[in-house]
Symmetry: C2
Subunit: 321 residues, 2 copies
């Protein structure tokens, strides 16, 4: 078979891919991307391949007569998460898998790092040289918080949320999650979108891991932020487009939200004059939640595991379509 790839890899990852893909033929795009977030360029190489690994153009995927399986190097799959793509893929038996298993651990650890940095007031505490007993010191001491016993609601229950829920277990928190359809395999209480307003009014931590699609665009609207408990903290490690950023800024300014911690925004990065950069209670990392040492090698290993399953005709890991 021919395997098309548009992913720019490190030498070590490329070697692992070449070895592991043997005896199949690898066809590389003329325009390789080193970011798993960027959309791949249309490439004639794709048309002859049976398998694609990377971020192939969605239209080109559907136009190809040969493609049987596409494995994305990201956890997000917005470009393919449309009714049209799903219908066309189902009709011709095309399978889409993502790299969810590669990113779940890193994204969950990133989310917990946000929650603990907020609880322990790290940005303020790391900048402080307060003396024991001073008003500044007492203010910091008595405003620092514990996750223990608090309430959290997670929007979007998948591999990341499952790992985060496991990491929150030792804190004896009340954790619930919002999912399109409950499947019965969840480790926390599942709430429907329709019924989430009440939970939102009681949660100390609102954690957004929603994927981006037609239904989730600007899900966190002014109306939604009005439902949030006063003084709650908002986190986004999903996709920036699921948030109305003007409404978010307003909620941060009014104090309705105590703080926001964002790994994703729209666009990325935000323009230099964007109000979210100016707000002292808004903390932004540049879409690094999935980052990890050995990331390209791990992506290749995960693809090769699925390649072995594809060869054997076994159900693939992380299938999304």
């Amino acid at each position: 078979m021919k395997i098309f790839s548009d992913t720019k890899l490190t030498d070590a990852a490329l070697r692992a891919l070449l070895e592991g893909a043997d005896p199949h033929e690898l066809v590389f795009s003329s325009q390789l991307s080193s970011s798993v977030l960027a959309k791949g360029a249309p490439d004639p190489g794709l048309a002859q391949a049976q398998i694609a690994f990377g971020q192939p153009d969605a239209d080109a995927v559907l136009a190809s007569k040969e493609l049987q399986w596409v494995h994305l190097t990201s956890a997000g799959y917005t470009r393919y998460d449309t009714a049209e793509f799903r219908a066309a893929a189902t009709e011709r038996g095309l399978v889409l898998t993502n790299s969810s298993a590669v990113y779940a651990e890193a994204c969950a650890e990133h989310a917990l790092s946000f929650m603990l940095a907020q609880a322990r007031h790290l940005p303020t505490a790391l900048a402080s040289r307060a003396e024991s007993g001073s008003p500044e010191w007492l203010g910091l001491r008595h405003s620092s918080a514990l996750l223990k016993g608090q309430r959290a609601i997670i929007f979007g229950y998948g591999a990341i949320a499952a790992r985060l829920a496991a990491m929150l277990a030792p804190f004896h928190m009340d954790v619930s999650a919002v999912r399109r359809r409950a499947r019965g395999d969840e480790s926390v209480r599942i709430v429907t979108v329709e019924a989430c307003a009440e939970e939102l009014g009681e949660a100390d931590h609102v954690i957004n891991i929603l994927p981006e699609n037609a239904a989730s665009t600007r899900f966190f609207s002014a109306h939604r932020f009005d439902q949030v408990k006063a003084g709650a903290v908002f986190y986004n490690i999903g996709r920036g487009a699921t948030v109305d950023q003007e409404a978010l800024a307003a909620a941060l300014r009014s104090g309705r939200l105590a703080a926001a911690w964002l790994d994703v925004t729209t666009p990325e990065p935000l323009p230099p004059d964007h109000p979210l950069w100016q707000l002292p209670n808004c903390f932004i990392t540049p879409h690094t939640a999935g980052g990890q040492q050995g990331e390209p090698e791990t992506l290749v290993r995960h693809f090769l595991e699925n390649l072995r399953r594809f060869e054997a005709g076994v159900e693939l890991h992380d299938r999304v379509v």
Copy 2:
């Protein structure tokens, strides 16, 4: 009985103390301290009390003929952790308890916030506006780390370490701890001080929660930092005096240690020209690890629980001498 207190409380905490201590008589020091870290001033009120709550002067405690029980408002008890104090207290049946249960959760959460902030490179990531795919972004993505699968060694196994070990369990780390004497109730592998060099050479995270006493002063010496695995991270949420700070600065400069995260130093705060302030891989919070919302009220509640036990002749919580 008479209860002496030198702790400056919030109104709510004072009310709870007055109500809970009834029918005993409360005697307040003329010099109240609002910091649980400060040494109390000698006070004639102590001499007539049977119980002391706060940070009473150690010599005055031993000079008192009436005192039966001292309950400290801190987890640390350095001023009383001497052979002389222990011998004199044992001879006259004086009991010393601390507020370990109040601070264990906050200190363990603070330690984990340090570990995750380091793994996810939060200080760099929060200051970055890197664009996806740029060299800066790829550097951040591929240097961010996972706690999962890493090794940690905790120096000082008590209530804080037990909580931290529970919080680390979901990360499937290899965690060991160094304790003066193993008691068999530990949740992680216990190593003796004599045998710790080998473990130190393999740990990615070296977490110092040692109490300060004659045996622990400058325990983390140049010799000890030489035993650490290259690229390890050092954390201190115990006491500053257990670290040779010049040796620490040298290990941070040479890159032997990738970073240090300190909640305690000696003195506190460090003088403005201290080298540890200048090092880009040294992160310092001003002894706020134990801080928490409602801290004074929680201290009083913990003392009153022990007061009920003292009245009933039951073994006290958090007894240290």
